[in-house]
Symmetry: C2
Subunit: 388 residues, 2 copies
């Protein structure tokens, strides 16, 4: 049995929460917590998810939904991947969305030449720089990588398009090589450089340190792409913003290679806690659940039971001491207001963990009158019944 | 179509990976990355999950499975919660498990008196210290909290049991109050103090900073309990260990209030990357999937599709450049060896993102002979078919 409470009715007092929290993010000139941009990659990284086989119609539906939600960029699979990928890229460019359209290519001229003809606003160029990728994937050395990067970037700029240059597996690349390469592409006028935790190995403080170091080396924007193999993709995105990153790659429900990347909804959960005003103003948060349902349906997965915000239990309270306090003031045990996302709070009260305060509230809701002693007797009976 | 590869056959070279990674954790005298302990709370925090209604038999099965896995402590619901909770607590204490058994009580003598009679090895005592909890939950001031803490702790110690004292909602508590309280309980000989991010609001660097500060104030062990409302519970646990925390609270699949806490499997994924030898020696990782299946069945949820390690796609590779490199050396795009957990790697090769190297490998596996040019023609046909 649950009590559904109307969070709009309760006085949450967001400002007092922040004012009285000694751990709230401090104003920091390098931090982009309150001015980040989202590069939404469900239609690129997400297409690499095991279950993703998007037809044109599905891609268009997802692109429109992402645009409605308010993401800054939509990234698409390389038009060099297949003939259909190229056609779909052109079709999405023609939709006239508010979001800028990007496509993601290998650092080779052949891919760049195909991509610039599709109508995209910009190209995300990537090349592997770790010793693993240099040895077991493309086999190229840093001199060759730098030369290719300059050629491809200059070509894209000559077409008047936005260009990002990213390393792959950045956290297992040689730091000096990496910084040297980024400084070179920054000097020739790249719009963004990207750091990628391609294997999901980075820890939050490593992310902070690398982005912070890079922030001192380049003057362009910094994008970060984080895989979730070790469950740190949301936290790492937050640390990257604290260290001066400007753009975060996301996908809906985090879908991507293996178990995916920073999820759009998870990032919203993290960021609304840090800067509620920025997030609620910029993004159409009430559309999050529909957007997730659309993508979950397209790739035939269920939204994880414990998904931030939209998981079925994200706002369900059960223990007696929790239920009592939540009924007094939701901020006691909730850092996110479900109403911001068009969601509802539930308070369980018929379990062995129930407290008499939850029962008392439900009694009141039903218009009954009972003394506190009577409510306590009823609570004991509920606990005994729940034990059975 | 997928290629299943035998990771034991491939030369992964774990030592070279670490040696050549400039971002691996450095030896740090305050860090407990290589000597952490797990307080497994599926039978306490997990019982507060919306769908959890464990009968005695289920609790015993879960306790035995946790013990087989090798967790250091098993934490149980307070015996003061209900008559059945008390009986179950006694029953689990009598199983003679290797893991120490704890129960979790409010900081009141009544609960402590019931708990010390159950046969547990120790008590985890908790009281809310944030202004929210002091105002909307128990209504007690810091003087009262300190007095109760001393009384309850001394009582538990007089019974020869281990005792932990934790604040609740620590990250929204006054820092000076908190440190003062912890110093007091440390001086009277508490075994551990606990920090709890009860609402899931803390960010990784906040966790690091608070634990690091506390590490300088108390000499006892430090436990941390982290909710996952903003998707940071695994990352935050890692940062806590880096800052000197000794004990991490987990639950299987992270089940708990709302969307839960640090998951046992997620923590394993994070820690095996940091110190493979410690994790593989101490924990029976091959039992992780069975343990998760047991708990998922008991609370009637599906393992999330993107769960670390055991999600169905955690080791599935799809994009052409990924597949090629993985077939050359799995460490290229994998930071965790699936074989450590008794899992298997899959490489998709029949999609529009496929590359000819994946097709070539499959051709070889089938005992066919084709020239590289022939393989490339077949690859184009697969891409065209996948487009349809």
């Amino acid at each position: 049995m649950t009590i559904s409470t109307d969070s709009k009715g309760a006085e949450r007092g967001h400002l007092p929460v922040n004012t009285r929290n000694p751990y709230q993010p401090v104003g920091d000139y390098i931090s982009n917590i309150s001015r980040f941009k989202i590069i939404e990659s469900t239609l690129r990284e997400g297409e690499q998810f095991a279950n993703a086989f998007f037809d044109t119609e599905t891609k268009i539906r997802i692109a429109k939904a992402l645009d409605d939600f308010g993401v800054d960029y939509i990234e698409l699979t390389s038009p060099a991947a297949s003939e259909q990928s190229r056609k779909d890229c052109e079709a999405i460019c023609k939709l006239g969305l508010k979001a800028k359209i990007l496509t993601h290519i290998r650092c080779i001229m052949e891919d760049a030449r195909i991509a610039v003809e599709t109508g995209v606003d910009g190209l995300d160029v990537v090349i592997g720089t770790s010793h693993f990728l240099r040895e077991f994937s493309h086999g190229k050395d840093m001199e060759y990588i730098t030369k290719s990067a300059i050629e491809v970037i200059n070509f894209i700029k000559s077409k008047g398009l936005e260009v990002r240059f990213s390393s792959e597996d950045s956290f297992r690349s040689d730091l000096v090589d990496l910084l040297s390469l980024y400084r070179t592409v920054d000097k020739i006028g790249v719009n963004r450089v990207g750091i990628a935790d391609t294997v999901g190995c980075a820890s939050p403080r490593q992310v902070y340190d690398l982005v912070r170091t890079l922030r001192g080396v380049v003057s362009c924007d910094i994008e970060i792409h984080l895989h979730d193999d070790t469950g740190c993709a949301i936290a790492n995105a937050y640390c990257a913003l604290e260290a001066g990153a400007t753009h975060i790659d996301t996908s809906v429900l985090g879908i991507g290679e293996r178990n995916g990347i920073t999820s759009l909804g998870g990032l919203m959960a993290r960021m609304i806690v840090a800067d509620r005003e920025h997030v609620t103003k910029k993004y159409n948060l009430h559309k999050l659940k529909d957007l997730e349902d659309l993508v979950a349906g397209a790739v035939q997965v269920n939204t994880p039971f414990n998904n931030p915000i939209t998981g079925f239990c994200a706002f369900t309270h059960k223990a007696g001491i929790h239920a009592k306090a939540i009924l007094n003031n939701p901020s006691t045990y909730e850092i996110i207001d479900p109403a911001d996302f068009g969601m509802t709070r539930y308070v369980h009260f018929a379990s062995r963990l129930t407290g008499w305060n939850a029962v008392k509230t439900r009694v009141g809701q039903l218009g009954l009158f009972m003394t506190d002693d009577q409510v306590k007797i009823v609570t004991q009976k509920i606990k005994a019944l729940a034990d059975v």
